[in-house]
């Protein structure tokens, strides 16, 4: 490749032109400040001009490709299977439910932190871990020791409250999905 050959005597050595630069020039992606000197070099170097011509051929070939239409019926199938939207009122309701469930669980955990001396119901906590992914959150918030020391509130062991809150958190998304599937009056199917 001539752009890697030694320059004529007296001329300043110029760095070789990488393929990326020629491709970018062919694609029109090179900034004007870089394109102009590169064009000058190409004009003075037949080998560079040949490389640019090949890059232009690939560019032209690629630009000849067109978006092909989707087969008939694809749009109809998409629209036929479109899930029903969740009405805004239900979305608000679901948001409130999730917020309430989260608050409930966090309140139970706060109780655990506040009264570490009281006895706990470890089996209930294990149940929470088994049924509720939110128990992972509980583990992050409080250590197992503090969680197992939740006080009794309203006749229920504190850990049971924590388990209930975690279960509510876990059940929220399931209920949301069920709501979403429910028929919505006034909406076309």
């Amino acid at each position: 490749v001539s752009d890697t050959l030694p320059p004529p005597s007296g001329a300043r050595a110029e760095p070789p032109v990488p393929d990326e630069a020629l491709e970018a020039l062919a694609a029109g992606e090179l900034p004007a400040a870089e394109a102009a000197p590169l064009r000058a070099r190409v004009a003075a170097d037949p080998a560079l001009a040949g490389r640019l011509a090949r890059a232009l051929l690939v560019e032209e070939a690629l630009r000849s490709l067109r978006v092909e239409p989707a087969p008939q019926g694809v749009v109809a199938r998409v629209l036929l299977g479109l899930p029903r939207p969740v009405p805004a009122s239900r979305r608000v309701l679901l948001g409130r439910f999730a917020a309430a469930a989260a608050s409930f669980a966090l309140a139970a955990l706060s109780l655990a932190e506040a009264a570490p001396a009281l006895a706990a119901e470890a089996p209930a906590l294990r149940l929470a871990e088994a049924v509720a992914p939110a128990a992972a959150l509980a583990r992050r918030v409080g250590s197992p020791e503090t969680l197992s020391a939740v006080p009794d509130v309203a006749g229920l062991p504190g850990a049971a409250w924590a388990a209930l809150g975690a279960a509510l958190l876990a059940a929220g998304p399931l209920l949301a999905r069920r709501w979403r599937r429910a028929p919505s009056p006034g909406r076309p199917s």
């Binding site: 393929d19 990326e20 491709e23 992606e29 090949r54 890059a55 051929l57 690939v58 560019e59 032209e60 070939a61 690629l62 630009r63 000849s64 490709l65 067109r66 978006v67 092909e68 239409p69 989707a70 087969p71 694809v74 749009v75 199938r77 998409v78 629209l79 299977g81 479109l82 899930p83 939207p85 009405p87 805004a88 979305r91 909406r187 076309p188």
Partner: protein, 191 residues
């Protein structure tokens, strides 16, 4: 009715507005999926799933962004999931889910000007390079938009495009249809 109007109404839950968006973009989404997966049936599945996912997530869509980029990104991610699934499940000669053979109007020749040759050559590229080339040349997306669709940095997009062009040039010049370095997941589908 402009696309912006349709997007706003679809965000508000207007099914008809979303249907208009589906009609507007289905060809493009199908084209990308078809070229990426080289399987017409899988491409249709991706189109359906992409629009369904978009519909479910419309409330979270930022209307100041182009819907086209967003739906193409969803479709691209679905295609990637299918690539991964294919990698985990080697195809057999009788596998009904094997890819369609690459399009071959005629063998890629030295002229490289025939669209069928280019299409066939494009299908021999490794997936990531093919995706960049398809988005750039078939869908005429600027580099920044390709980065947005693929979720890759701009520099990576440029590298992928450069490699795609280099491989294509070699394939077109040599008249080869073999996959380039790096391979594709769909080699089993090629003869």
């Amino acid at each position: 009715v402009t696309e912006e109007d349709e997007v706003r109404r679809a965000i508000a839950g207007d099914r008809d507005a979303f249907a208009a968006l589906v009609r507007r973009h289905a060809d493009r989404v199908h084209d990308v999926a078809r070229r990426m997966l080289r399987d017409a049936h899988e491409a249709e599945d991706v189109v359906q799933q992409a629009f369904w996912n978009a519909w479910r997530a419309m409330a979270r869509f930022d209307p100041s962004r182009p819907f086209r980029h967003w739906i193409l990104r969803i479709a691209t991610n679905l295609c990637r999931n299918r690539w991964e699934a294919r990698r985990r499940k080697p195809a057999t000669a009788l596998d009904p889910e094997a890819e369609d053979p690459p399009a071959r109007g005629e063998a890629p020749g030295s002229t490289g000007s025939d669209a069928a040759c280019v299409r066939a050559a494009l299908e021999t590229l490794p997936e990531v390079y093919r995706l960049a080339a398809v988005l750039r040349y078939v869908h005429d997306l600027p580099l920044e938009a390709i980065a947005e669709v693929t979720g890759e940095p701009l520099g990576t997009v440029k590298v992928h495009l450069h490699r795609a062009r280099s491989l294509l040039r070699r394939v077109l010049e040599a008249g080869e249809t073999r996959p380039g370095p790096g391979g594709t997941t769909g080699e089993s589908g090629a003869p």
